[in-house]
């Protein structure tokens, strides 16, 4: 199945072309930031129903291309996410950074990759992330019961492979050579 028209593959010439380094480096940051905005803009929810897309795209990039987003990327990206997520400020800074480090430690022990292990690792991270996000919000004065987060956890787990597909697509576009080399 082709998810993107043949832009940059057949029609556009590829010889003597190079990808833009700005796009090649900036796409991961931009997609995570847009994904942080997405849940807020897509609907006015009266319950936590949408997955934390910013976090999903972040760990997806870290799994697909380890090292493209540095380990410290959780600091600026988490700060951006905190501005819009409604969590107490600092919650995503802490959780994004901790997830990046945890993912590195896990990947040092699991050097092979396949769909299932990556999904299982992501499921673990999603559950821990949602739990901690709830705990931090509750420390800040709310007292939401744990059961409220179950639908969100299930939706996030099911959405993760789709987010992975989207990130893979963004990764292909990122490296599309279109700048003429002089």
């Amino acid at each position: 199945m082709r998810l993107w028209p043949s832009f940059g593959r057949e029609r556009a010439p590829r010889i003597n072309r190079a990808p833009s380094s700005l796009i090649a480096r900036g796409t991961p940051w931009l997609t995570v930031m847009l994904a942080s905005l997405l849940p807020g803009l897509s609907l006015i929810a009266s319950a936590p129903v949408l997955p934390p897309f910013g976090f999903l795209v972040f760990i997806s990039w870290r799994q697909l291309r380890p090292g493209l987003l540095p380990v410290w990327a959780g600091l600026p990206l988490g700060m951006f996410d905190d501005l819009y997520s409604g969590q107490p400020f600092g919650s995503a800074v802490l959780l994004f950074s901790a997830a990046a480090i945890a993912l590195d430690l896990i990947e040092a022990r699991l050097p092979w990759r396949n769909f299932l292990t990556e999904w299982l690792v992501a499921i673990g991270l999603i559950i821990v992330y949602t739990g901690f996000a709830l705990a931090l919000a509750n420390l800040d004065g709310a007292h939401t019961p744990l059961r409220v987060t179950w639908p969100q956890i299930v939706i996030s787990i099911l959405a993760y492979p789709l987010v992975g597909r989207f990130v893979a697509l963004a990764d292909r576009l990122r490296l599309t050579p279109f700048l003429e080399i002089r």
């Binding site: 319950a47 819009y84 409604g86 969590q87 802490l94 950074s97 709830l134 800040d140 939401t144 987060t149």
Partner: protein, 293 residues
């Protein structure tokens, strides 16, 4: 599998330092996150300015998506309307016949109300809303229930103003930016609204549960008089929320009150109204009522 014992990236000092520094910065990110969290717990107003600025920046995008949301809702409503037209027509005719008689009764009652209020000298008009605007975004991925208004200081919105739709109370303004404002919805667990039962004024508190419903907690403990279908309106006690704004309808009765459905679903509200905060008039001195014992 155990990780390799030697994690050295190679002989390049530069590569080694780069990796070391990036991990160092990663751990620093975790620590900074903890510090920021502690600051936001101790001083919740510390990041208000930044958040307000951020929501001002995305406000135009929010306007666009709000329009899109509304349009898509209208499409669904039109399709559903085609399918349900016949039965709905019959039902509406029945309801109209009923409503006509009710209207006459209501007119008579409002005349009488005006007369009685005139006698009491209570002719108080509700001031017009400060602004009519849209909700542009919400925190759909968090357990907190905040929404963003498409109006801020520029249109006279101030902290503490109640926000409602045509159907009922939505929440109150928490933080104000230049062109946007953050609203604490009534379904958030931190929101506490004094309410009374519309029919007889049984006082209670309405507290959000975080999952889109509201917990009605009766103030006077004892036998629970609530029934399924009871409508609750704001009581106005303590100020802030104007009395008489509908808020929720009881769906499930429990031991100390009820779980209620919100009447004004923020996702259905096309436009919302921001009101002046309600300041209760100090009651006139009344002669003490003799005890009926």
């Amino acid at each position: 599998m155990a990780p390799p014992a030697n994690r050295r990236s190679g002989f390049s000092r530069r590569a080694q330092y780069t990796i070391f520094i990036s991990y160092f910065a990663g751990v620093a990110g975790v620590l900074l996150g903890v510090v920021l969290l502690v600051v936001s717990f101790v001083q919740p107003s510390a990041f208000v300015g930044m958040r307000a600025l951020a929501s001002d920046v995305t406000e135009p995008a929010g306007q666009v998506t709000a329009t899109g949301r509304m349009a898509s809702k209208n499409v669904f409503a039109t399709v559903a309307g085609f399918i349900k037209a016949g039965s709905q027509h019959a039902k509406l005719e029945r309801e109209l016949a009923l409503a006509k008689t009710r209207l006459v009764e209501a007119r008579a009652m409002s005349v009488e109300n005006r007369r009685l209020k005139g006698l009491l000298g209570l002719a108080r008009q509700n001031p017009p809303p400060v602004v009519v605007t849209r909700l542009t975004s919400s925190t759909a991925a968090s357990t907190r229930r905040f929404a963003t208004l498409a109006a801020g200081i520029d249109r006279g919105v101030q902290k503490g103003m109640p926000v409602r739709s045509e159907l009922g109370l939505l929440g109150r303004v928490l933080e104000v930016g230049q062109s946007s404002a953050r609203v604490l919805l009534v379904t958030d667990t931190e929101s506490l609204v004094p309410v009374r039962r519309a029919s007889d004024g049984v006082p209670a508190f309405a507290q959000g549960t975080g999952d889109g419903t509201i917990r009605i907690k009766l103030i006077s403990l004892g036998l629970n008089p609530l029934k399924k279908g009871d409508v609750f309106v704001t009581s106005g006690s303590g100020g802030l929320y104007r009395p008489g704004t509908p808020i929720a309808i009881a769906a499930r009765i429990n031991s100390d009150g009820a779980i209620a459905q919100v009447l004004a679903n923020p996702s259905d509200a096309d436009y919302v109204l921001v009101d002046q905060p309600f300041a209760p008039v100090p009651p006139p001195p009344v002669a003490p009522i003799p005890d009926s014992q």
